[in-house]
């Protein structure tokens, strides 16, 4: 059975695995140089990266690949696993040898699933290890508009255990969908669509609920303010919302709302809050608010009890959150596999 599984799976496996191994080799070769740069340049490391050509590209590749692999694994390894047998009728050949369907599925699912976890794990390990100096420098406060803290949604899903969890989930989903729709192409398309959708929606709808974020009330000031949301005509604009920095380097902010002294969220701030807004960009005609006026404005906000209610995940919760998201998707994968084991015992002539 192990031989048969490999015989049927080897082409798909080698295609995906060779891409990943190639990427891992490139990362393994360039990684030590990057780490060396970080040790040597210390605080100027990120600034210096802008002068490089290869490393920024590899950084991008290291974000894209871990997102690409799970849908590919689900659609091209998972979906055809049973669907192709059902479509070509070969299930009636193989299920009538001296081996039960469940054992057949157990070997197929086990080996192929292990392959999916292994190659994704290898890729994620390489990417995580390679980008560690960059992530470290960013979390230490080095400024960049290219490199994101690894807690940010885009980078978070391309590091550590999360891609492995997604791959396991995508694979199990592909198998289950294939078993239900019984058509390879349909199963492949459905799996691809669902996995991508989950990847897009997970940071908004799943990740924030996996752990309790740090919950704080901050006083807005000229220093920590990061944005104003205005509404109304330019001459008579009102401030709807203020956004502030969480004050925690490398953290991922989930929530930021202005509340009044009773703690209720405000939909629009008082008229005078316009004074807090920074100078408009040059060329836009508007009376300039001086720094003194801004400081006074922020002071008045503070005095009248306006606070910023912020929730965020701090940088040091990275691995705790990684484990939880990994566990969540692994649990989904187990549930989907359980469904497949249940379904395959039923009629499938």
């Amino acid at each position: 059975m192990i031989w048969l599984t490999w015989r049927q799976f080897r082409v798909q496996f080698l295609v995906v695995a060779s891409v990943i191994v190639a990427a891992a080799i490139v990362l393994a070769v360039t990684g030590p140089g990057l780490l060396d740069d970080y040790r040597r340049l210390a605080d100027n490391f990120i600034k210096n990266l802008a002068l490089e050509r290869l490393d920024p590209l590899l950084y991008q590749v290291g974000i894209v690949l871990p997102y690409v692999v799970p849908p590919v694994v689900g659609a091209f390894w998972g979906a055809p696993l049973i669907a192709r047998e059902l479509e070509t009728g070969t299930h009636r050949l193989v299920w009538n040898q001296s081996i039960s369907r469940r054992r057949w599925l157990a070997v197929k699912l086990g080996l192929t699933g292990l392959g999916a976890v292994a190659v994704t794990g290898l890729l994620s390990l390489a990417v995580t290890w390679w980008s560690d100096p960059i992530d470290d420098a960013i979390n230490a406060g080095q400024d960049s508009n290219i490199y994101l803290p690894r807690m940010f949604p885009v980078t978070f899903g391309a590091r550590g255990l999360v891609p492995v969890g997604y791959a396991a989930f995508a694979f199990a989903l592909g198998v289950a969908v294939g078993l239900v729709v019984r058509r390879t192409v349909v199963a492949l398309a459905v799996t691809l669509a669902v996995v991508i959708l989950v990847q897009v929606l997970a940071p908004t709808f799943i990740r924030p609920h996996l752990m309790a974020p740090t919950d704080k009330y901050l006083v807005a000031s000229a220093e920590n303010v990061r944005g104003f949301m205005l509404s109304g005509p330019e001459s008579d604009a009102r401030v709807k919302q203020i956004e502030v920095a969480s004050g925690s380097v490398g953290a991922w902010k989930l929530y930021d709302r202005t509340v009044d002294k009773s703690g209720a969220e405000v939909s629009t701030l008082p008229d005078w809050a316009m004074d807090c807004a920074p100078a408009p960009p040059p060329g836009v005609s508007q009376e300039h608010t001086s720094d003194a006026t801004r400081t006074a404005c922020f002071q008045r906000l503070a005095d009248e009890g306006y606070r910023q209610h912020v929730k965020y995940f701090t940088a040091d919760t990275f691995w705790a959150l990684q484990w939880r998201e990994f566990g969540f998707f692994l649990a989904l994968a187990v549930l989907l596999s359980g469904f497949s084991f249940w379904r395959i015992r039923r009629d499938l002539s």
Binding site: M1, L4, T88, Q97
Partner: protein, 292 residues
Amino acid sequence: MNTVLQAHGLGKKYGRRWALTDCDLEVPAGHVVGLVGPNGAGKSTLLNLAVGMLTPSAGTVEVLGAPAGAQQAKVGYVAQDTPTYARLSIADHLRLGRRLNPAWDESLAQRRIQHLKLDPKQRAGKLSGGQRAQLALTLGLAKRPELLILDEPVAALDPLARREFLQDLMEAVAEQELSVLLSSHLVSDVERACDYLIVLVDSRVQVSGEIDTLLATHFRLTGPRRDQKDLPRDQHVVTASHTDRQSTYLIRTGQPILDPAWTVTQLTLEDLVLAYMGRDVQPERPVLEVQR
């Protein structure tokens, strides 16, 4: 162990439609059983129930004394359209059989492939329909089952390949101690290969038994017009047709036919099968004859 297949009140429902109803069967071991019936009569359903690919909606089915599907190693199955892995070679298929069957007979498999003059390196997808069926049969036989079930194995083959396939099957049956259950919608296949017959029409078993016995107990009676209820009680009417002056009955009976008014004719197997297949349209027949 005397019965290979035993069914009690067996039924299978797809959605609201019964594909098989009230099936009671007892097939003794050591026979080559032909399961005949028109397309869609439920032949595949019955065979799929017997190998455990389907689960019964009603009743029970036992194969070789155990619930269907419980003894996979003892039951070989050549499925409809003889599926094989198109991208695997013949040698790969034999390897598959060897790996997945404890009682695999490698020398038998090799002998058959040689005898068929097939190249082991050839992919199954490149084989002709007849060769593919032979490959599937090889897998089924080399598994060394006690019962080999074949679902319309020759349906897609040309007459020559059909004959060769059945001949090979017969040779294997003679060599191995093997019971065979094969379905077909052609009586000629059954006539050539089988010694036991099951006729399945409209999801019901119409008749089953050893072919010799069936032929010895079925007769065509032709004579002056006579009502069905005037026939002796031990004569079971299968079909009846009448003209103004003449009646023709096809009957089953274990007793000699004594009435001198009848001209008694022996039936061929085809007559017998067609009679049972045609039975369901019987109520319409008198109407047609009146119009004539």
